[in-house]
Symmetry: C2
Subunit: 322 residues, 2 copies
Amino acid sequence: MTTTYAVSLVDVRTAAGILAGHAHRTPVITCASLDARAGAALFFKGEHLQKVGAFKFRGAFHAVSRLTDDVAARGVVTHSSGNHAQALALAALMRGVPAHVVMPSNAAAPKRRAVEGYGARVIECEPTLAARESTAARVLEETGATFIPPYDHPHIIAGQGTAALELLEAYPDLDAIIAPVGGGGLLAGTAITATSLRPSIRVYGAEPKGADDAARSFASGTLVPQTGPRTIADGLLTSLGEKTWPIIRDHCEDILTVSEEEILVAMRLAWERAKLLIEPSSAVAVAAAMSGRFSGSGDRIGVILSGGNVDLDRLPWVVTGA
Amino acid sequence: MTTTYAVSLVDVRTAAGILAGHAHRTPVITCASLDARAGAALFFKGEHLQKVGAFKFRGAFHAVSRLTDDVAARGVVTHSSGNHAQALALAALMRGVPAHVVMPSNAAAPKRRAVEGYGARVIECEPTLAARESTAARVLEETGATFIPPYDHPHIIAGQGTAALELLEAYPDLDAIIAPVGGGGLLAGTAITATSLRPSIRVYGAEPKGADDAARSFASGTLVPQTGPRTIADGLLTSLGEKTWPIIRDHCEDILTVSEEEILVAMRLAWERAKLLIEPSSAVAVAAAMSGRFSGSGDRIGVILSGGNVDLDRLPWVVTGA
């Protein structure tokens, strides 16, 4: 019996063709100082330098591009306080169609400014999942627009997989790849792409201990939803999806969990030593690379830096006067 | 009558050959948001991602490499509180020879830690130029080491020129290049390289109004020393040198000066919108690109981001509780 997954390498290559000339082919950056700490050679795929400052642009642009003209013209909708909202707003702007973004009233001001800066209409709601979903449903009904989810969608997963495709085109001989995992769009896209291109590669998810649904799902072999996440890595709070989970279950080597302290140490090192302006969710993957798991292995490890959207006035290591 | 300059394109190509495999070939990064503000297409050469976090590694590694074995074995010396010190320390470490770095007692702690982290011996002195020079002279006498100056040296200038060489190899059709100017090593190397490869290109220096010796020298046609600089761009406090000045005088289009406020605005934009973790000296070049000089010109402008060594606990836009 063959399991059918939501996405194959062919879909990722299709997405790459659609993204060419529209998304940045982000650089791969190395840093001897971080290598020495990890005991391995790390190859950082710099998606913080992607449009909107996050890999999310890949999936969103791909998904919006795949809509037919008449469907696209009615616009797109999502509910998100994070990078997917910015990504969808820009993708819609580039296609010339409306974007409606439902955001919780407690969303960080720079995130709201960025979404509005890309021309999207922001609809505020109470900061609960129920309010987000009901508000989004109302907007869908009013506009006839298409809902574009943040991760559990074949076009989103295929788009996110293009980061690993580029990384392996540049460095085909990697022994392993680490990607942060929240809803699993990036990790699923990475896992399908990397294991299809290079069957011997080991793909790891990296997750905060305080939001470890993927690790618990992986250990138990059953999709475990996330409840009550507590972590600074605000891009990794969500549960795995029905489409991302089977891919991750069958194509990943393991899910590595890291503590909040490890996340902050890794983020500070990445900023101070490697000049990588990454957000905490990216630092989760860096922390996993430096967790001791690879120490002395001499492995060549790709690390996908998912984004760089942080509030510069509230950096975690600064005691602000405010 | 022909003026002979300290450096030619041949020297820069020689330096590039020596640096290959030892220095990073840093990425060129673009950002639609900054382009929109500049009214031009900006191509950022990311030397903040260079080893030691600054272009200075290019010149230092080149200069140390050019020493004969017996001379190199006696070590190298410099006096610097900045990126050149880290660069020379790492270059010496890579060659396996001693580095002695004279640093003022008020140098920022992270800079001293970084220099020591590269295995150099730090010799503290009073924070005056006289004390730095006399202490360096004493160390030279004691050790028989070679003094490697931060900018006014042919091997340093040629090494710094390799950043522009890489930029123009990647983007041969640039209309202009902007580089920050302090002592002028980077700008002189950039100017020789760019005008030799592409005679129609316009090369600009970028300088803080509060340390505008290069602008005053350029306007008057005579080398004017810097006195009493007042700027946050701590890499650009020095005067032009006898070797860098004639190159800059004869190969640059102009020196653009920017205010402290423009520097801070540009630095914040570079961090927030482009995720470029650059230091204020780099932001001077970004500010010059956004100064209105190029607005609406449609020019394709290379901007050399000189480095990313900032004290993350004292970011200029954060009111710290300390």
